[in-house]
């Protein structure tokens, strides 16, 4: 029964092992076909071969089938490329597992299934880098451990049979060793204790969980200790390259609306003050600019034709904030971050397009995640600046580009007439002269974002196709998303002679308090406005004396309802917290497991360990540290006491009190020890010491004691009667004791009658026993 129960469990767990391995492989292949086929095979084989026993592959059939499978796979794999051959091997392992599943399950078959599944996991480990691999690997480890534990219990149970009478599985277990030797040799048959099935399940699961925890701990140490060296171009791609919207030379209004619900990860970004290693959370929601567009024509924004790509210069500007960006693969070159940027170390993977004012990554690094550090002076006091410094003034041609407005063709009405009028009206209403560029800009922005007329919506709005979309937004349908707001503001500013451009990128993101980083997803895509300020337009006091920007960009976000929100300030839901944990786990996985390289190993593990060890040694041997400790002790109550003690180191009164106290303590200790020992002795002696022992028991003890003095002691396996018989035999061997040989048995007879027969001992019998005992003791005391 026990063995059958283990068998059922074992089949379930080995099925789980097979399925988990094929799932891992399927993840690598990005297809569920193999998993589904394996699931079908597991279910069918369990029903047909194990449960109903309708069909089994014999060993010979299985061998031939396996040979055929190997031959066919090898023939196919011959024509494949290297990844194809890897998949062919993995598939071959699955096919061999199918053959094994239909064979009678022996220990060997279970082992083969497990080893094949391990091969699949090994192949999958080269294909699946995501955290999902980690979770499935843990499940696989647990299922595998349970399988092997059950396999051991099954093998042992079958070898010994069980105590409930179940015969051993094999006709002649190894325990029956004597049977294989001479017929005169002992023939012995082993046995197994019976354990409740529930206890087996609970115990095996608990032990396996404990073992898995131990294995993970050992694996962590070993994994991080194994040597790493740099292999170029080996960054790990966790996802397919993203299809990015809006980051091209041509942006069509409404495109960003497509991505507002897209949760695909774009990048993670951390901020560090200067060269600090501890990340900080910027106040407010930073704007991560990806690209800028300047030219507008009937709903389409395009970039300038010029392009001037150059390597980033390593320089340190003040205030200096480092950004560490981990960008996911993307189909476009532009990278998003807080601008303006400068390099903190040479990085050949990055380029700066000075004409487009955008950061781009080299072609080879688009299909893989890229992690880089870049400096910015666009933040001050942990907050993003609203006026960004610019090293160079724009040339007139570039300024003219920032003032471009679609011109009406001859004979046609001005396409943006309503927009121009609205801008003029807004400016007039504020009473600000357009020459006061910052104030005028803010007035128009205020009109657009806070007048209440313009509403934010991600829904696609009905537009009048006959007129320009921005004209339509400003004059007729004042509902739209950030692109409409930003586009409208740019055009309204330009209509008032203020040079501006539309910036596209991401706003904020999801702040992860565990990892101290922003996780930016597609749905955080945003558009805003940057207004060019000449040196004369920069408000006084905006920059410190150290900074001498030649020009600046005023950042405006006109989108209604786009005020800054601090997500961290709001209470986090349980789901959000879980998401943060999951995401942080993914980050750790990517950085320290799947993408661990020699640099990270050194920075993340060896350097902190070395520093810790160094600090510990320093803590122990440094004279300064000890001096500081002594100083602290001196300043404490203990130190005060010591100072007092040094002055009054001896006192008769104190000495007497101390001696008396010590004496009392010693006396108490000795008394307690004596008392405990006495109690222990009494406890060992049992009830007899307190006079509760029946007289007959006392008599029997005397008998044992008398015989023991003669060298006859009762074996624990012997009953009193057996002992008495044996002792009588021994006594009868010697002529001087032969006359008392019968007494032990006689005394034990009386002892049994009273002790187990419930009889009472009358005086006559008691006297007789006493007499017999006395005679025995006397005889045995005589020298031989």
């Amino acid at each position: 029964m026990q063995s059958v129960y283990i068998d059922y469990l074992l089949r379930a767990t080995i099925s789980a092992v097979v399925l988990l391995a094929t799932m891992l492989l399927g993840m690598g292949e990005r297809t569920a076909t193999l998993t589904l086929v394996s699931l079908g095979m597991v279910v069918v084989s369990a029903y047909v071969s194990d449960f109903k026993r309708l069909f089994h592959l014999s060993q010979r059939m299985a061998d031939w089938t396996a040979l055929g499978v190997v031959a066919v796979t090898a023939a196919n794999a011959f024509h494949e490329d290297r990844p194809g051959q890897l998949f062919a091997v993995a598939h071959l392992q699955s096919y061999l597992q199918y053959v094994l599943l239909f064979q009678p399950k022996t220990t060997r078959i279970y082992w083969q299934l497990a080893v094949l599944s391990l091969g699949q996991v090994a192949i999958a480990s080269t294909l699946v880098p995501g955290i999902a691999f980690g979770f499935l690997l843990l499940a696989y480890l647990f299922a595998g451990v349970v399988t092997f534990v059950l396999l051991l219990l099954r093998a042992q149970s079958q070898r010994y049979g069980s105590a409930d009478g179940t015969a051993p599985a094999s006709a002649l277990p190894r325990a029956a060793v004597g049977a294989q030797r001479s017929p005169q040799a002992p023939m012995l048959m082993g046995n197994s204790a019976r354990v409740e099935p529930r206890a087996i399940v609970v115990g095996v699961v608990a032990q396996s969980a404990f073992l898995c925890a131990f294995a993970v701990a050992v694996a962590a140490v070993l994994f991080f200790a194994l040597p790493r060296w740099d292999i170029p171009n080996r960054e790990v791609a966790t996802t397919e390259p993203l299809h990015s919207v809006g980051f091209s030379k041509k942006v069509t209004l409404g495109e960003l609306g497509e991505v507002v619900n897209n949760p695909d990860l774009v990048m993670r970004i951390e901020f560090f003050r200067g060269l600090e290693t501890r990340a900080f959370k910027p106040a407010g929601e930073p704007l991560f600019r990806g690209t800028v567009v300047t030219r507008y024509e009937r709903g389409e924004w395009t970039q300038a034709d010029r392009k001037s790509v150059a390597a980033l210069q390593v320089e340190f500007k003040s205030p200096f904030v480092r950004q560490r960006v981990t960008a996911e693969p993307s189909d476009v070159a532009e990278l998003s971050c807080v601008f303006p940027v400068f390099a903190v170390r040479p990085d050949f993977r990055l380029r700066l397009d000075t004409a487009g004012d955008q950061l781009i990554r080299q072609e080879d690094y688009r299909v893989k995640p890229i992690e880089f550090e870049i400096g910015t002076n666009g933040m001050i006091d942990d907050r993003q600046r609203t006026i960004l410094p610019c090293d160079q003034r724009l040339r007139d041609r570039e300024v003219r580009e920032l003032l471009q407005i679609p011109q009406a063709a001859a004979g046609q009405n001005d396409a943006l007439a309503g927009l121009r009028a609205t801008a003029a009206l807004a400016l007039e209403g504020s009473g600000i002269d357009p020459s006061q560029r910052v104030a005028a800009t803010r007035a128009i922005n205020e009109y657009l974002s806070s007048s209440g007329r313009y509403l934010y919506s991600i829904e696609r709005q009905p537009r009048d196709r006959a007129i320009d979309p921005l004209e339509d937004f400003v004059t007729r349908h004042p509902v739209g998303h950030c692109e409409y707001f930003a586009g409208a503001l740019v055009m309204m500013l330009r209509s008032q002679g203020i040079p501006a451009r539309m910036a596209i990128g991401f706003k904020g993101g999801e702040w992860n308090p565990l990892g101290m980083y922003y996780q930016v997803q597609q749905l955080h895509a945003h558009a805003w406005v940057e207004v060019y300020l000449g040196k004369e337009d920069i408000p006084p006091g905006e920059f410190s004396d150290d900074e001498t920007p030649a020009a600046a960009w005023l950042v405006l976000d006109p989108t209604a309802g786009a005020q800054e929100s601090d997500s961290a300030a709001q209470g986090e839901s349980l789901l959000a917290r879980f998401r943060h944990y999951l995401d942080y786990t993914q980050v750790l996985w990517i950085n320290y497991v799947a993408g661990l390289n020699s640099k990270r190993q050194r920075q993340g593990i060896y350097d902190p360990l070395a520093q810790g060890a160094e600090a510990a040694v320093e803590n122990v041997i440094s004279p300064e540290v000890w001096q500081e400790r002594v100083r602290i002790v001196n300043n404490s109550h203990l130190g005060t006491f010591w100072q007092w003690y040094r002055r009054h180191w001896f006192s008769w009164r104190g000495g007497l009190v101390a001696a008396g106290f010590s004496l009392v303590v010693i006396l108490l200790y000795v008394s307690a020890r004596t008392l405990i020992r006495a109690l222990r002795r009494l406890g060992l002696a049992g009830a007899a010491r307190f006079g509760n022992e029946p007289p007959v028991l006392e008599m029997y003890r005397r008998l044992e004691a008398a015989l023991a003095r003669h060298g006859l002691t009762r074996h624990p396996a012997q009953t009193a009667y057996e002992f008495a018989l044996a002792a009588g035999g021994e006594l009868a061997e010697h002529i001087e004791h032969r006359r008392v040989a019968h007494l032990p048995r006689r005394i034990v007879d009386v002892f049994y009658r009273v002790r187990f027969g419930g009889r009472t001992l009358d005086n006559l019998e008691a006297d007789a026993v006493e007499h017999a005992l006395a005679e025995l003791e006397r005889t045995l005391a005589e020298p031989r």
Partner: protein, 386 residues
């Protein structure tokens, strides 16, 4: 309790280690992080096996309980109990192997194992192994080999506990046939001539249940009918019920299997006769054994006498003196002339030689109710079946 420890990697462990090393070396060589992770995870269970087994076998107490008496070929049941003395930690998959060997046997002891799937903390679990010991003699039980391969069966930890005990396995008790009962009766009343007279002259003193070998003429039909089971009359024949067994346990210097078997049969026969005689207390019995160590025992039939003779017979070893043993002549001189005497030998008795030793021991044969049985002879099977 002396302990020896052994750690061995099992075949499965070897395969497992090879797979792990292959995975790790491949992963390090090609710098495949996740394959390194898989390889590292494989290391955990191996290390756990090393640590667990060492801990699991530490605070265990193993005991065996042997039967007080055992005759050869009787079913042997040995209880093995394992106590887990830990406070918290239960232990799994404990295998206890006991070794059983005869002192005189040249071959290695046989092993019997018991398996304990789980022993909870502070608990004792008991399992028994069973079997048969086909030969009499002194058997040594132990030492115990306590083994665990938990959790995955990769590493085998063994501790050897020198916990030894001795069990005397007594001669096999066979069955005395009806013909034996016949000659016993003849012997008891002094031979064929005296049978009728002895039976008739005996004093009736009670009734008892019928036993195999009792004459049908002794059945007390009236009482048998009343009770529904056969009851026979008993006669007061104390003198003639006394029995002296003189056993010549001889085998050649280079004994064949048959010779050895004859010795065993003779011992078994004698043990059976003693066992039957001791069922009725009060009879005087004499057992004289001509063996490597001659033995002479005399006493009243009793369970104690039975126990003593069984222990003596369990260790009796045959002598290979070609001459008829003088010890039997001396023993014969101690046997009262009226006592029924049965000489059992593993060879045919040379009457002249017997007479010579009897004369030498001052024990006349004439007038003595004497029977001789040759165990090796073809007639012996008529009296005894083992």
């Amino acid at each position: 309790m002396a302990r020896q420890r052994q750690i061995r990697i099992c075949r499965e462990g070897l395969i497992y280690s090879l797979v792990m090393v292959a995975a790790l070396s491949g992963a390090v060589g090609r710098q495949l992080n996740l394959l390194m992770l898989v390889g590292s995870l494989l290391a955990g269970p191996l290390l756990f096996g090393l640590v667990y087994g060492r801990l699991a076998l530490r605070r265990l107490k193993v005991e065996r309980k042997l039967p007080p008496h055992l005759h050869s070929d009787q079913r042997l049941v040995v209880d093995v109990s394992v106590s887990n003395l830990r406070r918290w930690l239960g232990i799994w998959a404990i295998e206890v192997e006991d070794h059983v060997g005869r002192d005189e046997a040249l071959e290695a002891p046989a092993a019997a194992g018991v398996f304990f799937p789980h022993i909870a903390a502070r608990q004792t679990t008991q399992v028994s192994y069973a079997g048969r010991l086909p030969r009499r003699g002194r058997y040594q039980f132990g030492p115990f080999r306590v083994t665990t391969r938990f959790p995955l069966g990769l590493i085998r930890h063994t501790v050897v506990l020198n916990e030894s005990e001795v069990l005397l396995v007594r001669p096999k008790l066979g069955r005395l046939t009806r013909d034996w009962a016949q000659i016993a009766r003849e012997n008891a009343v002094g031979g064929q001539r005296m049978q009728r007279r002895g039976l008739l002259e005996a004093d009736f003193y009670g009734l008892r249940d019928w036993r195999a070998g009792d004459s049908r003429r002794w059945i007390h039909w009236r009482t048998s009918a009343r009770r529904g089971s056969l009851v026979v009359r008993q006669f007061e024949q104390r003198r003639s019920q006394d029995l002296a067994l003189l056993v010549d346990l001889w085998q050649p210097s280079d004994p064949s299997e048959n010779d050895l078997q004859h010795v065993e049969t003779a011992v078994s026969f004698v043990a059976t006769v003693v066992a039957q005689a001791c069922r009725e207390t009060g009879r005087q019995l004499v057992l004289a054994l001509a063996a490597q160590e001659p033995l002479y025992r005399s006493g009243a039939a009793s369970p104690l006498f039975f126990e003593e003779q069984m222990d003596a017979l369990s260790l009796a070893a045959a002598h290979n003196e070609p001459r008829f043993p003088n010890s039997l002549g001396r023993a014969l001189s101690l046997v009262p002339l009226s006592m029924s005497t049965l000489i059992v030998s593993t060879r045919s008795i040379d009457w002249a030689a017997l007479q010579a030793v009897a004369i030498q021991g001052d024990a006349p044969l004439s007038g003595r109710p004497l029977q001789v049985l040759n165990v090796a002879g073809p007639q012996f099977a008529r009296y005894f079946q083992d």
